[in-house]
């Protein structure tokens, strides 16, 4: 057995090198993802392991998360206490066992925190699962919850399901209606060209999401008279029908759902509602156990103006989608367009509203576009909700529809005192140090991870948020906290590095633009902090305060028009993107109109990087060669100081990178004097800024080497 992790209360608890996910064993083995249940005294744990397995993929997309619910025995019943989540778990795929470690984040506090400690940062999960050959039953998992510095709880958990939730579904129907039929994805003409053929019904649609629906076989057919004399169903009538016909119904949270195939909703014919999750607060605002049932309206769906005239397979698809969609509401999923994601291809969107949501163009019908791209899935956020969110948020009869307040809160930054005492400390800062950023200037920050302990520590060498181990939070001038989301996610095997005692790791992070657009458009004060979690350690940084200046002139105000566009954002984020013509043109305009700004220098940097390298335009089918002379001009501008400034417009790491590239270009162009002068100036500048001596020494050595070469 080769390993093992070093999760200890004294800190520095990252696993040893080689413990990363991705090391695959060769022999066939039982998959380990699924639900595990175990007991420790009067406590019970339901654990969900959701990992990318080295063996052939399972029936659902893995999310690389671990989550669980804890229960306490009260009388003869298990009372729910809390739920937790482990993001970015470390997985060691050994030959005889799999070891998973990670830091637990609580949806609610797991235990009362001792004075001076914070719950969320103290609990570490370690799971050990012996490897079983495929023909043998799956081995139980040993699950240890390590309470930082105090004690551990150990649960021996049996694997009870390959899925993450198990729900019993009872379907009844009204006389004259039909149950949804299974349909094959190839039976419809409008579909993604590469969509494989598979049969879908409600059960399989949810299994693909990692949720096991058990369909009860006691279908009941009853008369529409229960809907009253108008034969259309109100929410109260539907709820009443559920109480009378749902054989498993109890007024409490339980993993059981009821679906009624009904005729028309009461708003018919004024509104064509095809389904409803009726057990919500508009029926009874004080109902303590909502979301237990849904209904779909078969007679409405059969209308010629709805789906009655469609080919049978398309009708079946739409019928199925309505059932999956309404049951999704019962599991507390909202519409995609109510979450600002109108272009989602999820079951939870409305095909005809795609991709506009509430902002409809006249006469719009996005149905064809939606189905041409839809792969019959929930989106990733919904999968995370269904599989891993706090129990009461998901379970039918749990929290109110739309109550998602148990989500993990944004972690608070650490105080400087906490950082000073931590064995491993994470800092967010600006280098050169500055508080004020010009309006529209790209904000970059420097991250520093420092080993403050007396011994070396193994750490993942991934401080960039694109790697997924580090999250950056921003509090904007209005006080709202947002998670910075990078444009790209880097997948792949993690790398670790040994950080000797007293040593530091650094990274420069560009924060101005990301998946949600420009993050610093508004003038005012911002706070920025980072959270770094992997392999049993969770670090919170200090909060950095910066201020974005108000535009000084009307001209500067105009700069926003030229800068804050998605193409420009991409060019700045990627430090050059020659294929984005519009973005490059707009930024060129900024450089010409506002040459003295820090933004202009950053744009020169992007153009310089772009021109220094060849660019393969796969769309146009051509390669644009490198343009070193143009790159030199741009980079010279980028590293030059703005007028009256004593420091570069770029942060130290970015400035150093630009100097390195410019130096290489000078050397390639056989301009040693300019190369030496660049290095000498940079040495002088970095010395003034008290940059690390080894960086300065390296620059000085290179300058000296040029000198020696010349003298020879």
């Amino acid at each position: 057995m080769d390993e093992i992790l070093s999760d200890t209360p004294s800190g520095g608890g990252f696993p040893c090198p080689g413990n990363q996910e991705g090391q695959t064993a060769r022999q066939a083995r039982q998959p380990i993802s699924g639900t595990y249940v175990g007991q420790h005294g009067s406590r019970r744990l339901e654990l969900r392991i959701d990992l990318r397995e080295p063996d052939p993929p399972g029936p659902y997309v893995p999310l690389n998360l671990i989550s669980g619910d804890l229960f306490q025995e009260v009388g003869n019943e298990w009372e729910y206490r809390s739920s937790f989540l482990v993001e970015h778990p470390y997985v060691h795929w050994g030959t005889d066992r799999v070891i998973i470690t990670g830091t637990m984040s609580s949806f609610r506090p797991l235990e009362p925190a001792p004075a001076g400690h914070e719950t969320a940062s103290r609990q570490v999960l370690r799971i050990t699962i012996p490897v079983s050959p495929p023909q043998e039953p799956p081995a139980p998992a040993m699950v240890e919850i390590l309470h930082w510095g105090t004690y551990r709880s150990t649960f021996l958990c049996d694997r009870v399901s390959a899925f993450f939730r198990t729900i019993e579904l009872e379907i009844d129907r009204i006389t004259g209606t039909e149950l949804p039929r299974p349909f094959n994805t190839q039976a419809v003409a409008t579909r993604p060209a590469d969509l494989p053929a598979f049969d879908l019904d409600i059960v399989r649609a949810y299994q693909r999401a990692g949720v096991d629906l058990h369909l009860l076989s006691d279908e009941e057919v009853f008369a529409p008279a229960e809907a009253g004399s108008d034969l259309t169903w109100t929410e109260d009538e539907l709820h009443n029908a559920m109480q009378h016909h749902f054989s498993l119904w109890r007024d409490e949270p339980q993993w059981k759902l009821y679906l009624l195939i009904a005729t028309h909703f009461w708003l018919y014919p004024q509104s064509l509602v095809t389904g409803i999750m009726y057990d919500s607060q508009s029926r009874d605002p004080d109902d303590p156990y909502p979301r237990q049932g849904a209904a779909v309206f078969y007679s409405t769906m059969k209308l010629a103006e709805v789906w009655g005239n469609l080919p049978p397979a398309e009708f079946d698809r739409n019928f199925l989608r309505t059932c999956v969609h309404e049951l999704g509401h019962a599991l507390n999923l909202l519409h995609s367009f109510d979450k600002d994601q109108p272009a989602s291809l999820s079951w939870m969107n409305y095909p005809w509203r795609y991709p506009y949501g509430y902002n409809l163009p006249p006469g719009w019908d996005g149905t064809q576009q939606f189905w041409r791209n839809c792969r019959f899935e929930f989106d990733l956020e919904e999968l995370r909700h269904l599989r891993h969110h706090a129990l009461l948020e998901v379970i039918p009869g749990g929290a109110a529809f739309g109550a998602l307040g148990h989500d993990l809160p944004a972690p608070a930054p650490a105080s400087l005192q906490q950082l000073a005492q931590a064995p491993l400390a994470l800092y967010v800062r600006t280098r050169p140090e500055r508080y004020l950023f010009q309006f529209a200037e790209p904000v970059t920050v420097e991250l520093k991870l420092k080993n403050q302990s007396q011994s070396p520590v193994i750490v993942p060498n991934m401080l960039n948020p694109e790697c997924g181990l580090l999250q950056l939070y921003l509090r904007d001038p209005r006080g709202q906290v947002r998670l910075y989301r990078p444009l790209f996610k880097l997948c792949g095997q993690g790398q670790t590095t040994e950080l000797p005692a007293g040593e530091k790791l650094y990274a420069s992070v560009f924060l101005a633009y990301g998946a949600d657009g420009f993050y610093f458009q508004e003038p005012g004060e911002y706070q920025i902090w980072a959270v770094y979690g992997a392999g049993g350690v969770r670090l919170r940084s200090n909060a950095l305060r910066i201020r974005v200046a108000f535009p000084q002139t009307a001209g500067e105000e105009e700069m926003a028009l030229w800068t804050f566009g998605p193409d420009q954002g991409h060019v700045l984020y990627m430090q050059g993107a020659p294929h984005l013509d519009k973005g490059n043109e707009q930024l060129r305009e900024v450089v010409e109109r506002f040459p003295d700004t820090n933004l202009a220098r950053y744009i020169h940097l992007c153009f310089g990087y772009s021109q220094a390298h060849q660019f393969k335009d796969l769309v146009a089918g051509r390669v644009r060669p490198a343009q070193p002379e143009a790159a030199i001009q741009e980079l010279e501008q980028a590293v030059s100081f703005p007028p009256r400034a004593r420091q570069s417009a770029l942060d130290n790491i970015t400035h150093g990178g630009a100097v390195d590239l410019l130096y290489e270009l000078y050397c390639q162009a056989d301009q040693p004097m300019r190369a030496r002068s660049l290095l000498t100036e940079t040495v002088r500048y970095f010395k003034r800024l008290e940059v690390r001596p080894e960086v300065i020494a390296e620059l000085r050595d290179r300058a000296k080497a040029i000198e020696v070469g010349e003298s020879r």
Binding site: F265, L267, P269, Q270, S271, L272, V273, T274, G275, I276, M277, S280, Q281, S282, R283, P285, E305, V306, H325, E326, H329, L334, H335, D338, Y350, W352, Y358, N359, L360, P361, P362, G363, W364, D365, T367, A399, A400, F401, G402, A403
Partner: protein, 196 residues
């Protein structure tokens, strides 16, 4: 409170004037003005305001061939919960656009409407806040501060108000003609009189 005593006035106007090409989107502005001498609380257009929940903002459109069907392809199956910030206090004489700001959305029937044929159309908007039962207002998802929302709801006058009737001529894109011309089914009386 009867409609003639309404403290609110609703005006519908077209940003493109009385004529536009048949394939151009409508640019309608809605203004709600407090014409009383007291402050009035109102709620703007919310998801579901086309029928699922209150307040309702329902459009009526009559085209050259008669009333135009304004049913959306698929009705909403839930509307988000009413929140304290959805309430707008209008001082006497003050106006607001119920489609903009806060969590308000465009009136779905009007945003989606496309004139099916050239000709003269008459558009009208009905604002309906008559439901006394708070459940008809709350929507389906969680209301964060229900006590406050219900207190604010009590202050909203339970009235219905009709807007002015807006006439827009939708012209044929290519010929610029207003088709069909005189004698069109559904043309209003005034127009018919002139045609005779």
């Amino acid at each position: 409170m009867g409609m003639e005593e309404s403290p609110l006035k609703i005006e519908l106007s077209s940003g493109k004037g009385p004529r536009q090409s048949v394939d151009e989107p409508l640019e309608l502005s809605v203004r709600i003005t407090n014409v009383s001498d007291r402050p009035v609380w109102v709620v703007g257009v919310l998801p579901g305001s086309e029928g699922l929940r209150y307040p309702q903002y329902r459009a009526e459109i009559e085209g050259p061939s008669g009333p135009v069907e304004l049913r959306l392809p698929e009705g909403l199956d839930y509307a988000r919960g009413l929140q304290p910030e959805d309430f707008v206090r209008l001082a006497p004489g003050e106006s607001f656009d119920p489609q903009r700001g806060k969590g308000f959305i465009p009136i779905q029937q009007l945003a989606w409407f496309k004139a099916p044929e050239p000709g003269r159309y008459r558009l009208r908007l009905r604002f309906d806040a008559t439901a006394e039962d708070p459940r008809r207002w709350l929507g389906q998802t969680l209301v964060r501060d229900r006590g406050r929302v219900e207190a604010l709801l009590k202050q909203v006058p339970k009235i219905a108000v009709q807007s002015n009737t807006l006439e827009i001529e939708f012209l044929d894109r290519e010929t610029g003609a207003l088709l069909p011309r005189s004698g069109a089914v559904g043309a209003d009386e005034e127009e018919r009189g002139r045609g005779d």
